[in-house]
């Protein structure tokens, strides 16, 4: 007798997205963004850990925030204020890329309070950053220059000036750490910023840059940041 796992198999995963996505609300203005962070309550990481379990966050983002599949991004080690802001964006329908994928996150945080969002953000920030999700990427000189020097011709500031020299720190509270994130996720995100589908960045803070990038540059950048980390 050979064992067969029919499982909750193939294509039957309920968490896969879509359904009921509404058009995105506009991104926060600069003043609103400043107020959001000024009013952010101090997070309780312990309660965040409990929420992470209670609301099944772990089923996509991994037992402690490091995703175990390439379908969902890791959130462990992420900048606390960034996570808080993104969860706020989901709750208020500011993150809605039109492909249905945000519906699950919108529902996940719909009934959570500001305190609970801060607790989750604190919990993820307290977890170790994900290990590199890919090999250390070899960068072309031109792309390395993009990261370290920017491109004055295209009015591009260096990536590192906001995301940190090691891709691990956000200089501004709304800037995420990128090191070790999944290359597919990074590429997808940049493409969505470029097309304008993702539009929750205040004052087009990321859309503006992404729109200047070529597809080849996006691929290289994604592979580079995926390969960073301890």
């Amino acid at each position: 007798m050979k064992p067969i796992v029919i499982a909750l198999a193939l294509g039957l995963t309920a968490g896969a997205a879509t359904a009921g996505e509404s058009a995105a609300e506009p991104a926060l203005g600069t003043g609103e963004l400043a107020r959001l962070f000024a009013e952010m309550p101090p997070g309780d990481a312990e309660n965040g850990a409990a929420l992470h379990q209670e609301y099944w966050c772990s089923s996509c983002h991994g037992p402690s925030g490091a995703a175990q599949s390439r379908n969902y991004p890791s959130v462990a080690g992420q900048v606390e204020s960034y996570t808080y802001k993104v969860l706020q964006d989901y709750r208020a329908h500011r993150r809605s890329e039109g492909d249905g994928r945000s519906a699950l996150m919108v529902a996940s945080v719909q009934k959570l309070t500001n305190q609970e969002l801060a607790d989750l953000a604190a919990y993820y920030a307290s977890q170790p950053r994900p290990a590199p999700s890919g090999p250390k990427a070899k960068l072309s000189e031109a792309t390395l220059a993009l990261i370290t020097k920017g491109d004055p011709q295209r009015l591009l500031t260096p990536c590192a000036s906001c995301h940190g020299a090691d891709g691990a720190a956000g200089v501004r509270p709304e800037t995420p750490a990128l090191a070790g994130l999944e290359a597919e996720y990074l590429e997808h995100t940049l493409l969505q910023y470029r097309s304008g589908a993702r539009a929750n960045d205040t004052a087009k803070g990321m859309r503006f840059f992404a729109q200047q990038l070529t597809e080849a540059e996006i691929k290289e950048l994604a592979a580079y940041y995926a390969g960073l980390g301890e």
Binding site: M1, K2, P3, I4, V5, I6, A7, L8, A9, L10, G11, L12, T13, A14, G15, A16, A17, T18, A19, G20, E54, Y55, W56, A103, L104, A107, S108, V109, Q110, K111, L112
Partner: protein, 429 residues
């Protein structure tokens, strides 16, 4: 000449010279021929998975209708949340992507000895293995006072999605302000155990926003139902259940909810608890195995199809398997998910048998998501195995917790919608 026994002949006279080619093909060792009666969730899943894991098999679905409407999410169509398009599917992907043959016709008989299916146009379709997946038959005549004519017009069941769904939808969306909907729930066992309660919930959700003085009453010949705890908690939270102004009422058998008779003339339902008049009366009759299963002699005294629960082989006919709502599958409910799970197992069983391999160790799953409101979901899930007595038993499972985590039902509602989308893709794309 092929002999088709009287017992197995449903209708139509037999032409004298049935095809001789079938046994010859068999003798020549042609590809394994699997014929599937019914292209619903069970049949369509079986066809696709047999072709996926055993590409040498020749698979033919014989189905009466060219279009299939999933019962899952048909309650959303009734209450106007979804259009019929969302739950409409067909077998074109089976033909184009999986090489499944389709015959759109009625089946008039099966010769179990000669392994032939006769269709209404007189063709004989040979098989090595026959899969019968005909769903349920609604016993409208079992409801005193009810008639097929009334079921098609003023007292629809909405328990086979399609025109029945649209009939209910028309009546529901035209309900007068302050109107009453009466849902007559069926006795066990029946297709989609949470269905009547989800339907009532979705109606109450609609009333909450559009017709706040209307009401839905469930008349039930039973005293309990699936996911009762999470359902009633949701009703209390959303619809004032148990209070004087409840948008939804449930009258169990012990309170006289069992229906004695219905009267389509006066749109009323007679019960031990009194006469209930409805502006809309939705009578969901008792059920039995699909008519085809019964006509083929595949049912026993329970009116359902007995099978070996490890292989779904009929105990009443050789080389025939019955899956889905029609079969007796131990602890598994009559759900689309269950039919899908059984069909996948059967694909392995048939491959093993036809290739002379050891049989698979059976394992099944079922999950049912229901909406208590558009953004409030509840669920039940279980894993099944076959025990030493050959019965399907649940080995693990659970129901939505009733707790004070307000975001869980919101998430479960998203899961329900995503489940339908991915499930339909699993079956039909």
């Amino acid at each position: 000449m092929t002999r088709i026994s009287r017992r197995n002949l449903i209708a139509g006279a037999l032409a004298g010279s049935a095809s001789l080619s079938a046994p010859m093909l068999w003798a020549q060792g042609a590809a394994h021929r699997v014929v599937i009666l019914g292209g619903g969730i069970g049949g369509a899943t079986a066809a696709k998975y047999i072709r996926m894991i055993n590409p040498e098999a020749e698979v033919t679905i014989i189905e009466r209708d060219r279009t299939y409407y999933t019962c899952p999410r048909s309650n959303d169509v009734i209450t106007g949340v979804l259009d019929l398009d969302t739950i409409t599917f067909d077998l074109s992907s089976h033909r184009n992507n999986y090489g499944v043959k389709t015959i759109y016709d009625e089946v008039v008989g099966v010769d179990f000895d000669a392994h032939l299916v006769r269709t209404a146009d007189g063709s004989d379709v040979p098989y090595d293995r026959l899969i019968v997946s005909p769903g349920v038959d609604l016993m409208i005549d079992q409801v005193e006072g009810h008639s097929h004519q009334a079921a098609e017009t003023v007292m629809p069941h909405g328990w086979k999605a399609g025109p029945q769904t649209m009939n209910l939808r028309r009546q529901f969306l035209n309900l007068r302000p302050g109107g009453t909907v009466v849902i007559v729930a069926p006795p066990n066992p029946f297709r989609c155990p949470p269905g009547p309660y989800e339907r009532a919930s979705m109606m109450a959700d609609h009333f909450r926003h559009h017709n706040p003085t209307a009401k839905v009453i469930i008349l039930d010949p039973k005293n309990k139902f699936t996911k009762q705890g999470p359902f009633t908690k949701g009703w209390e939270r959303l619809y004032g259940y148990g209070t004087e102004n409840a948008l939804l009422e449930w009258v169990p058998e012990e309170q006289g909810g069992g229906v004695i008779s219905v009267d389509p003339e006066t749109m009323s339902v007679e019960t031990a608890a009194g006469t209930f008049k409805g502006d809309l009366v939705n009578v969901i009759p008792p059920m039995q195995a699909g008519r085809l299963a019964k006509a083929l002699g595949l049912t026993n005294e329970t009116n359902w199809c007995p099978v070996d629960q490890a292989t779904f082989a009929s105990t009443l006919a050789p080389d025939v398997h019955v899956i889905g709502d029609s079969c007796i599958a131990g602890a598994m409910p009559k759900s689309g998910y269950a039919a899908n799970s059984q069909a996948k197992m059967l694909a392995h069983v048939i491959r093993s048998e036809l290739q002379g391999q050891p049989l698979p160790v059976p394992s099944f799953a079922n999950a049912c998501y229901s909406l208590v409101a558009e953004d409030y979901g509840v669920s039940i899930a279980a894993i099944y195995a076959v025990n030493e007595e050959g019965k399907i038993v649940s080995t693990a499972g659970g129901v939505s917790a009733i707790d004070d985590k307000p975001n869980r039902p919101v998430l479960e509602a998203v899961y329900q919608k995503n489940w339908h989308r991915t499930f339909a893709a699993d079956v039909f794309s």
